[in-house]
Every structure is written in structure tokens, then in C-alpha cells.
Assembly symmetry: C2
Homo-oligomer: 214 residues x 2
Amino acid sequence: MKIYDVSLTLQSAMTTYDGEPGPTVTPIKAIDKGDAANVSLYSFGSHTGTHIDAPVHFIPAAPGVDTIMPEVLIGPATLLDLSSISEAITAADLQGAELPPDAARVLLKTRNSRYWDDVSGEFHRDFVYLAPDACRWLVDRGVRLVGIDYLSIEQFASPDHATHLTLLGAGVVIIEGLDLRAVHAGQYMLVALPLKIKDGDGSPSRVVLIDDWE
Amino acid sequence: MKIYDVSLTLQSAMTTYDGEPGPTVTPIKAIDKGDAANVSLYSFGSHTGTHIDAPVHFIPAAPGVDTIMPEVLIGPATLLDLSSISEAITAADLQGAELPPDAARVLLKTRNSRYWDDVSGEFHRDFVYLAPDACRWLVDRGVRLVGIDYLSIEQFASPDHATHLTLLGAGVVIIEGLDLRAVHAGQYMLVALPLKIKDGDGSPSRVVLIDDWE
């Protein structure tokens, strides 16, 4: 079995969504100060790096990230390469893609993945996003998880947040911030594990794709 | 396939190792304050809850948690039930357990798991631990990952840290803080994913055991 790590490294210099706080690491114990071990205090925003959105991210009093079922987070996934799309992924684009009829998890590789080559930390606002009609199309098909390769799945400065509301309102798990540069279109086993943060609106997550599972 | 989530929930009231800081959640954006979404700032110690130790936790300038290979973190694991042991798990105990000769990942269920029934947040110092001779036995057998069901795998206030140093020095991955109350001895597929924190000395991790994989 071959494992692809499609997670961003959490570090102080990384790109965050439009000014949200990036990771900090503060030593609590340090061997070079005479402590027995190195121990740190970490802090970061709930939507830093590769991360999962909980329903309560956009829907008041909705479930937190700790309630997302592992059965949805682990299982077969289809990676679509939509790198030729310049702005919005529409229902028509998905209709034309090679998605198996029973696909439960869909990962969208777009031109966004190239942004990870930019190590300046600049946040790009003109990223490719999933249009609301494409969200409805996925919900109607019974898709339970969708992932994309930038820090939001929704058009920047969307007036109505229809992308997030359509997906989260239907219980579809959203993964954002995937680094899909090294993977090609096809079928994989997805393992996407957020921290189990009580009532959390999101969580940085480690995400891997596995080829030749078993 | 059946998935068992053996991770502790990260929350302010949880037990931490001997006074280390527990999780905090601070709102950055809030729908009820007029923001479009709920977004939080999280902070916690690097060894909070269910977590993985990196070599640099005890060995200066050793590799961080971001370098631990997914190929070690994902794969078949043997869960041993050693609940009858009262203090130290020794090499003799492991010799007498039913460990397959090629076991690469070993999880130790002990009486410690019962501590998770105690919701007071008290840290118990008299937990069952892995004795240094048992660590050498595991290293000699080629075991690559070992997990235990309390917040340290080493005797509390160990004078020489031989348990951590033997395991981490040999490149064995250590998982601490597993909640093994609901799982029985046997073979599982283990998936243990820490956050990919650059040079991190450890990371809270989501850990699941899978039965009837594929």
C-alpha cells in the first residue's frame, strides 16, 4: 500500500485565511533549560492549514467537529482533476467529470494546488471554488464528504455563504486546505482525521490518501 | 468495517499530565456577534489527551512529529489486554502475551483505562507503565509503534527516563492517552494521525482502530 500525505505542514510562516492567526509554538519545558523533556504550548486558528469544517462553523448551535463520524472520514474517495477550471466549479463541470454513481467522497484538485508553491505566505483571494449549484448537485447525489485544495471551498467574500450552508446544512463534511500537488485523478482510500475538539467549529486535520489499500 | 474511536475528547475539563496546560478555546469570529462564521483560536499542550511523542520530546535535536512516517502510523496492530498487571509491564509479561512474531504495532490495554471513568480531571500518578526491559524486548523484536492507555508510558518521576529513551532512541513511535475501555484484545487496523507540526515534540492525535478492514 502506498500512502500520500496531502496535509500542509503547520508552521508559523504558513498561509492562513485572510489574516486568521497561524500556528505559534511556545516552549513549556526544555531539555536545554534543565527540564527532563521538551514540551510545548501550541496555538492556532480552528481553520488553519489542512482542516475540516464542522456544521457549527456556519450554522448556529449545529454539531461540532467532535461529532463527525469516523465512518464518513475514512473510506473510498474519488479525486477529480479540474485544473483547467479558472474560477467556479459548477454542477455542469461535475456532471461532465468521471464520478462513479455511488461516490460518497469527492476531492477536487484545481489550479489552487499551485498556490502551495508560493512560500511567501500570501493569501490569494482568486481561488477556484465550488459554486452553490455544484453543492446541491453533490448533496442530491448523496455525496457525504467533499474536499478542495485551498483554504475555503466558497467564493471569497460570498454575499450569502450558499456553498458552506448547502453543504454543512446537508451534513456534508468539508475538507479545506488539501495539498493535492503530488496526487493524480483516481480512486483512493481517504483517511481524514480532525482532532476531537468538543463543540469545535473546525479542526486542523491530518489527511492521507492510500493507494492499493489492504 | 467497524471503527472504534479510541481518542479522548479535547475539552477544558480534561485530565492533563501533572499540571500541563489543557485546551482553551477562544472565539475569534462569532455568528451571534454579527460575523459570517464561527472561528476559534485553540491552544493546548503538545502532549494533551491522546497524543504521539516525537523523538525530540526526550532527545535534543532529534526529529519532530512532522517526520513520523504515515506508513508506521497506519497498519495492523495487536491489542494486548494486560488489565491484571498492577504496576509495571515487564519483558516477561510481554513474553507471556499472545503477540504474533511479526507484530509491528502493539497497544497495551491496562487498568489505566478505568481512569477515564474519573471525570474530575485529577491526574493519577500510580498508573501502569512499560518497564525499560519491556521496551528493549519490543525494540529487539522490531516493533515500530507502541501505545498505552494513560498520559505517559513511563513510570511517574522516573529518574533516568529509560522507557522513553529506549523507545524514542530506537525510532519507535509512542502513543499515549488512548481510551481503550471499549475495545477488546485482538488484531485491528490502527490509524493514528498526529497534526503535522513542524519540529513538534508531540501532537494531540486522532486514533481509531478498525475491525474487518476492507
